[in-house]
């Protein structure tokens, strides 16, 4: 087999890249073990596409190259597959992810397959040109470079998050000085005063202010916070639904929730780690509207 080494190395590096990128983090997605199984299998196919395409290109096998380009296009379906899957789960979530967060996760999944193809192709090219060591070096470089490019930005980089006390002015609930909602039931007000926690998000720049204005970004914050701290609510207690309300004059956002774990510092840390969604990224300083 004339290109066995380069195809084998490209395949191995591609699979390794997929395994490294397939980590189940605090968002608990993909779900173990079936999510892992399907993504590993698709990762093997992506690695094979990347590994075989380079030798085929070098051998001027245009039919094979065309075929692999068509196969690579099938990975666009990954995004809609992930979107459909997450949207189907939305109805049964106590605190929904929101469509922006779902779209962001789906994009990440799609992009990871292109990274796998790129890593496999780079390793394969290196092995063709300079042997196995060169292949490994190029594959590792491709993996590091790609992951740096697609790395998501945590909210903490552009937003300051501080704990803030909850207070009631009559039936109106406030986090710090930011109005959250009107709570009519006395018993719910007592419960919120006893178990509720809050934080205020202060944008460091005008761009961050735009990011926080996005409803999808705020829903992602609430989903992550409820996922880690738990939400002390059920379908018949909507007043305990976590909320993020904007102070219109300053662009600051007040976050309120009634968690299972009443650790306000943990809430602050979770908010800081929430990714800035691509669709929510503020762009007020990057362009002018016509």
């Amino acid at each position: 087999m004339p290109h066995g080494c380069s195809i084998g190395l490209g395949l191995a590096m591609g699979i390794m890249a997929r395994v490294l990128l397939l980590r189940s983090d605090y968002r608990q997605y993909p779900t173990y073990p079936h999510g892992y199984a399907s993504h590993l299998f698709l990762g093997i196919i992506a690695a094979l596409v990347g590994a075989v395409s380079v030798p085929a290109l070098m051998a001027q096998e245009w039919t094979a190259v065309t075929f692999f380009v068509i196969v690579a296009q099938q990975f666009r379906e990954i995004r809609s597959m992930e979107r459909d899957s997450l949207e189907a789960l939305e109805e049964t979530q106590l605190v929904a992810r929101g469509s922006d967060y779902i779209e962001s996760i789906a994009r990440v999944f799609e992009a990871r397959y292109y990274i796998v193809i790129f890593v496999a192709a780079s390793a394969s090219y290196g092995a063709e040109r300079g042997g196995a060591l060169m292949g490994i070096a190029l594959g590792v470089l491709a993996l590091i470079g790609s992951t740096l490019v697609v790395k998501t930005e945590p909210l903490a980089r552009s937003v300051e998050v501080i704990p803030a006390p909850l207070s009631f002015h009559g039936p109106d609930l406030y986090v710090g000085d930011i109005f959250i909602m009107n709570v009519g039931l006395e018993s719910s007000r007592e419960s919120i005063a006893e178990h509720g926690i809050g934080a205020i998000l202060i944008p460091k720049t005008e761009t961050a202010r735009d990011t926080l204005a996005n409803l999808g970004q705020r829903q992602a914050i609430l989903h992550d916070a409820a996922g880690i701290l738990g939400a002390k609510k059920d379908m018949d207690t909507p007043e305990f639904t976590p909320m993020a309300t904007r102070h219109i004059q300053t662009g600051r956002v007040g976050v309120f929730m009634v968690p299972e774990e009443g650790d306000v510092q943990l809430l602050v840390n979770v908010i800081k780690r929430t990714p800035v969604l691509e669709s929510a990224r503020g762009r007020s300083l990057y362009g002018q509207s016509p």
């Binding site: 009519g184 018949d236 909507p238």
Partner: protein, 62 residues
């Protein structure tokens, strides 16, 4: 463009029926009893209770 309701007032609780028009109203004179009725209605209807002042509570599904 699709137009949807963000929140629907399901009913109101008040001490005086004259204060409410066009929506179902529960007239409960006593403040504590009104709170208890509102709590039961919110759990049954899976909706939130809001205090709009003047001894009027509304039950809203968001």
């Amino acid at each position: 463009m699709e137009i949807t309701f963000g929140g629907i007032i399901l009913c109101a609780l008040t001490d005086d029926g004259e204060k409410i028009r066009d929506i179902p109203a529960f007239i409960v004179k006593d403040e504590a009893a009104r709170q208890e009725k509102a709590r039961l209605l919110s759990r049954i209807l899976k909706a939130a209770v809001h205090d709009v002042g003047d001894d009027v509570l509304i039950v809203v599904r968001h």
